[in-house]
Amino acid sequence: MGTAATADAVGTIVNDFSIHVATANGSGSQTSNMVLLRALFQMGVPVSGKNLFPSNIQGLPTWFTIRASKDGWIARKEESDVIVCMNAETAEEDVATARKGAVLIYDDSLRLQEKRPDCVHYPVPFKKLIAECCPDLKLRKLVINMLYVGVCSALFGIDMGELKSALGKQLAGKQKAIDLNLPALEYSANWTKEHLPKKDAFRVERMNANEGKIIIEGNAATALGLMFGGVTVVTWYPITPSSSLCEYLDEYLNRFRLDKDGKRTFAVVQAEDEISAVGMLAGAGWAGARCFTSTSGPGISLMNEIIGLGYFAEIPFVICDVARTGPSTGLPTRTMQGDIYSLMYASHGDTKHIVLIPSEPKESFELAQEALDIAEEFQTPVFLMLDLDLGMNYWMAKRFDYPAAPIHRGKVLTKEQLQEMGGKWGRYQDVDGDGVPYRTIPGTEHPAAAYFTRGTGHTAQATYSEKPEHWKSNMDRLAKKFESAKKRVPKPVVTSDGSKVGLLFCGTTTEAINEAVHELKHKHKVKVDLCRVRAFPFTSEVEDFVDHHERVYVVELNRDGQLRMALSAEVPRLAHKLRSILHYDGMPLSAGAVVKQFRELEGAWGKGTPE
């Protein structure tokens, strides 16, 4: 709800501002940023942390934005209220983009006062302070970023006890590092109290809004979901922004899934490329493992052929696409909902895939488990669609619930069942009328258990066939199976305010949209209904939503309106009701961007004027 008012005009602004920290990549700033974020969180103030980093290991500029919001808005805020310039190289640019009245904290050697007389300035002698509190010259550059945390603590009233506890948590088990950072934190806070008179309006006060909440990245949440979903085979190839998902998973599995002899009840394999990673899933899913890989757009492009094999040979596996900005190498460290279309229809020929789309960590945890179940229930590849914003940024989320239901392994025939059936069965036979056949798992000790798996034309009995009628009936059954999935995949989350106008969206745009809707309602007196799509195929509730509204804006993070295209293609009669609100500069969506585009479009379309 951020106000753009200046300090002087407003007086005090409590628990409603963002801190934008500019540092150099690889300078240890992550610890400082996380300590600040955690301390705010521990004070009961809703927070979010978004990392804007370069595709680089050391030296290039990186930014971290912490948003504190008493109202619980955790989307990206376009304008920052406090800018901390720890990177001299970008300082001028950083302050140039500051809004009027913003608070600027920077090294006093930078002389930024005259550049932005309309801002609140706090020059700090960082180099002098670090020399005074860190005697070891070599270690200073690792600790200097902790100084700004101390400065912020004193200026905004962030509790020192909480900062210390956050530091302990962040550097758990690394006492030397704690001992090194703690003096810097306290020294800079004390210095600020003595030397910097408070000139701005921003203050932090304790709240109690974070009961039952955690802070987690979507990749870690997904990894936990997979572990509790009983994943056994994990393959991966490193690619930003998905790498940390399998790294977290590997870490969790090694911690919690060893048997009593220390042996692994799982396999995690770093493959030589994404083709191999998904090829291993084809083999593992076929041989009965609950299996998973994570990747990003370029990896999905490489995996396409085997995804089609999985669809056609009916093999369960789960792929998580943590999407980044494309096409091509694109912006590897920026976000995008850019693979919507390429996931839904991945591979050549007639293919359609189940895609599950979480919007925040708790849902990532739950849908990761669902994905493993649905893949086996429908014997097909299932995608989890995240993006960099969800996967790699820090989200406040509700604590996860322990799964209440057992896992579902779908229609698997056992040795005993085969015996009862006299060994008569057809791998691709639609016995139940839902398009989902029965399968056997390699290793089943019955002479009739085996069947021949192929990506070529086959009969219901899994024998080779090029006959037109066999091909067509098999493709029709696969279509029927996809129809059946409509009743199984998660339904959309629909919020109705009695409006004729709707917003339809998925994934990480949710937070910004919720905030935008609040602003539209209270500031602009416009009501909007919401439909957050959680899966492909689109369920009947998605169609109903569009049917029951005059105009629906499809909000998404890509240039071409991929979600809108897919909905128009799947349900053509809805197409004329859909318009796009798009955001595709690599940054997460902000409420402001939604409000602006919505009002412009409504101004034209809403008054009956054609586009």
Binding site: K263, F266, G288
Partner: protein
């Protein structure tokens, strides 16, 4: 018994140690060209599996795409089989092995499937040492797309309609030796005796056994000027050893004369004996193996036999320290940690 493959040698009522007849190892009728080298290999695979009394339900057959990759349909119908994607059999086999480490893998690929499109996956598979027999049915050409050269075609070899290959071949055996494969053999589909022994030893071997089997394409690469035709290979084959197989269940099967033969343990209790022919080649010497392969290429000799062999090493599931039970059938009580674990993690994050 498969139609186009050779008739079984054993009388139809004869059974092996697990009570199966040879027809229990049969597949469907081959649809390859009459006289194809691949059918000879298929027949020997049936023999070897029967002789070894492999339980068909414990075997999976994996392949990529191509004429050779079709052949898993022609043997052991009681075994699960996966005819996957061009060049990607190694990754698919790896995944299957992770899901169920108790399965013995028979992988069948071709020279195009392995040395061209699949060379990357082949290279990385060799590093993993799956419990697998990896067969390349090598004819130097693409059959299904009508006779284009593959990467194993020799320099100077002539295509059916006159084109000459001007690039150096990839020697898959040399590559396998270099990559640390512990059982590397080159065989000729026309050499029935050697194939039968070598296939049994390869199947008994714990770990990856790589077999490059020269298997002439009678339709596109059996003409004068080809270096992978039946006549050329027959003329140029130089056998390195007489291979003997000593099954675990019958160690007295073969008497060994000291000094004449090498004995190699295969990891399952069985042994392979190697009686050198000509110069006393030592297949346990990796560097020597590479040297010999290089020399034989210069001399335009086709050496057949065991190129390189070593004591069996830990397989991929062993390297990964996996539980002995197949991951595919682990119960939920094992694969889902308890509520206390979730609580612990949630506390850390709050």
């Amino acid at each position: 018994m498969a139609g186009a493959t050779e008739a079984p040698e054993a009388p139809s009522n004869q059974v092996n140690r697990i009570g199966l007849q040879k027809k229990d190892y049969a597949g469907s009728k081959s649809t390859l060209c009459i006289g194809c080298g691949h059918d000879l290999i298929t027949a020997r695979l049936i023999d070897a599996a029967y002789d070894l009394s492999l339980k068909p339900e414990n075997v999976i057959k994996m392949s990529g795409i191509g004429c050779s990759s079709k052949t898993p349909a022609y043997f052991m119908s009681r075994s699960f089989s996966f005819n996957s994607v061009h060049g990607r059999m190694p990754s698919v086999a790896t995944g299957a092995s992770l899901a169920n480490r108790s399965l013995k893998i028979i992988g069948v690929s071709g020279d195009g499937d392995t040395a061209n499109i699949g060379i990357g996956q082949f290279v990385h598979l060799m590093r993993r040492n799956l419990d697998m027999v990896y067969i390349v049915e090598n004819n130097g050409v693409y059959g299904l797309t009508k006779g284009q050269f593959s990467a194993t075609a020799d320099k100077g070899s002539k295509q059916k309609y006159g084109n000459v290959n001007f690039m150096s071949p990839i020697d898959l055996c040399a590559l396998a030796v270099e990559l640390g494969c512990n059982f590397v053999a080159r065989l000729f589909a026309g050499n029935t005796k050697m194939m039968r022994q070598a296939l049994q030893a390869a199947m008994a071997f714990k770990g990856t056994a790589f077999l490059d089997i020269i298997s002439p394409c009678v339709t596109f690469n059996n003409h004068a000027g080809s270096t992978k035709s039946f006549p050329y290979v027959k003329d140029h084959e130089t056998a390195l050893q007489d291979i003997g197989f000593v099954p675990a269940y019958d160690p007295t099967y073969h008497e060994m004369a000291a000094g004449e033969e090498r004995e190699v343990k295969l990891g399952d209790g069985s042994k392979m004996t190697l009686k050198a022919l000509g110069n006393d080649y030592n297949p346990t010497d990796r560097v020597g193996a590479l040297k010999m392969l290089a020399e034989s290429r210069e001399q335009q000799k086709l050496l057949t036999g065991i190129i390189c062999v070593a004591e069996s090493q830990p397989t991929f599931p062993q390297m990964l320290n996996m539980v002995h039970e197949p991951l595919s059938t682990l119960p939920l009580s094992v694969t889902r940690p308890g509520k206390a674990v979730l609580d612990e993690v949630m506390d850390e994050l709050s």
